[in-house]
């Protein structure tokens, strides 16, 4: 067969391209479901709650992040609705007083210092600016973690250092020292 070796070479190229573009992005992440199927929409929609009703800034200016069980139990000491998820949550966590091991999609690595207060309270950014429409989601998608670095996949969806710097430059907050955002 003529050009046989060319075909063999090209098939190698094609398979590598396919694996690299289609297979690799899936293979690099490890997926795991969230422990509780939480619906933001139920809370922000019909519930009429705002983001900072649960995700608060503490009086010392630090951000509380995902609320602890205590906060959830404030409303859900007993079932408020009739869904199976809520019942599971109350039986599995609220009653035995077990903290939920949430995986945080937007969790920055340990060497990053990100003050929510300066961005939200001082600069007046909306939560959606970085977190998108997370507040309107009906279910929690599986958490995807990079198998090598251990970073959340969401970091690569607009939360990398390049994204931080781009936004700061766009708003004329350049000339930052490294230790302004690293600890």
């Amino acid at each position: 067969m003529k050009h046989r070796s060319t075909y063999v070479f090209l098939s190698g190229v094609l398979i590598a391209l396919g694996a690299g573009w289609a297979g690799f992005p899936y293979a690099i992440y490890e997926s795991r479901p969230q422990p509780v199927d939480f619906s933001h929409k139920v809370h922000t929609g019909a519930g009429g709650m705002k983001c900072d009703d649960c995700h608060q800034l503490r009086p010392d200016g630090t951000f509380a992040g995902i609320p602890r069980l205590e906060k959830c139990a404030g409303c859900h000491a007993a079932a408020m609705g009739s869904t199976a998820e809520e019942k599971q949550f109350i039986d599995g966590y609220v009653t035995p007083k077990r903290e939920v091991a949430w995986s945080v999609y937007a969790r920055q690595p340990g060497n990053v210092y990100f003050p929510h207060g300066a961005h939200v309270k001082q600069a007046g950014l909306s939560c959606e600016r970085c977190h998108g429409k997370h507040g309107q989601t009906e279910t929690l998608r599986p958490y995807q973690e990079d198998r090598i670095s251990g970073y959340s996949r969401d970091i690569w969806r607009g939360l990398t250092m390049g994204d931080c710097v781009a936004c700061h430059e766009q708003h004329g907050i350049g000339q930052q020292g490294c230790l302004d955002c690293h600890k």
Partner: protein, 529 residues
Amino acid sequence: MRKTTRRDIFKFAAGSAAGLVFTPAPWRLITDTALWSENWPGIPRPARGQTRTRFTHCALCSAGCAVRARCVNDQPVSLSGLAGSPLCAFGLAGHQLPYHTGRVKTGAIEEALAAIAQRRSHDAVAVLDLRPGRTASWTYRRAMAALPRGFYLAAQSAIPAVNLDQVRTLLSFGAPVLDGWGTPSTVLAARSHFRLIQAEPLESHTAMLADLWLPLRKGSEQALALGIAHVLMQEQNAGASFPAEATAYSPARTAQLTGLPEAQIVSVARELAPGGALVLASQEWPEILQLNRLLGSVAHTIVGRRETPVPASWKKAAPVTAIEAVPDGSIGVLLIDESVCDGYLPWNAIEPKLAPAPLVVTFASSRAGYGRYARFTLPTAVYPEMTDDIPPALDSAAATFRLATPLVAAPAGAVEPARFIAQLAGLPPADALRERTDAIQSSGRGVLRTYADGKSIPVKGVKPDDFWKVLNEGGCWVDAPDPVEPPASACQSSSAAVVAMTWEMRLARGPMSPLLSKLYEESNLRVRL
């Protein structure tokens, strides 16, 4: 169809490699590897959470400094003192002690109980308390009174207080006055108004910082004390209480023995004006106490202190027995509370008092102390896991009551020595600390100080529950300033007050944070040969 050849495989591999370069995979793997090098499992990640401030008292020594703890999710991550009351290097790393690698975490508690039960009916039982003056000490004394033959042994005799406010000249024979003696804040506050003369062969930290350093010959401390007494007796004609041997120590002879200039010995003696002098030492030399008497320090710079009130029902307690007073070969069961330590009795003083095949049980967090002589070492909580009170500090003329409350939970197997010994003697189960605070509150004496707001209020208007709450959440009780004349016994025992534990002695007695040992090893700050 031809068979697949080696050449085909190489072609395919080369094609794959060429193709891979045009995918994100290799570039992402490079980035990921770099990120992994910052996050690999060898690097611990500090826990996140809410920061809270809590207060307690440092139980590492009897200074009992107030502690402000920064806690993240109820775990202390750093300790600091309050304004005007700093912590020492020991105290600053205190929150790391529960994780010491040499810590004893388990012990044969049931076996120890059974062994004690077997011996206690026909043998004398003794408790050795390494920090007398606590509420637990009272529990031990009550427990020993409840047993047919019980002895309460204390590592230190009752200590009168040192009133640094009155000191104008401080002569120290190797005592680490500025390096771990007394309460740091009190010593440093008083430092501006006393002249410090340090007589020590080596240039210790205190010698470096003293106003005058007398580098005398090793072992000639007593000679210098006698030489100074000689000058004082000659010049002030006040030497009634001093032994005749001082007359043999003329300045010339003392200079010969100590290696110090004769004129310096005379001038040091003249500086020690009666009334404002205090003499301290690193060992119990009788000459030091005599020098203090000669200078009129007793009842002036060495003063008595009122006792912190105790419930009336506790007065039926065993007396403090000096180890010398215990009959030889009599103690069958020796229980040692090593959970806190301010002093110790050398084993060669204890050993002759023990019956044949003695049962020695020590309550400790490490085997560094008496553990090597003990049949059982029962694990205890360490600071800052323990609940204990701290006796008044050496340099506090007023009585005080301070609680060390737990910042972290003690391990499951930990024993509370006071509870263990109270149960052993069949004392009624009760919260002794609460009974004691109620007694203090009902005495109506003194003030209650709250650390969170820095306020002091008279005890008279405080309810018992509030009193207890403040003491637990960060506060202390300070007696009304009413210095009483020291009892006659204080003059006998005041030698203990003028003996200061050195760093080396402290380090030999208990574990310290690995961080602290690392820093001192690497910085050669403590290694001075």
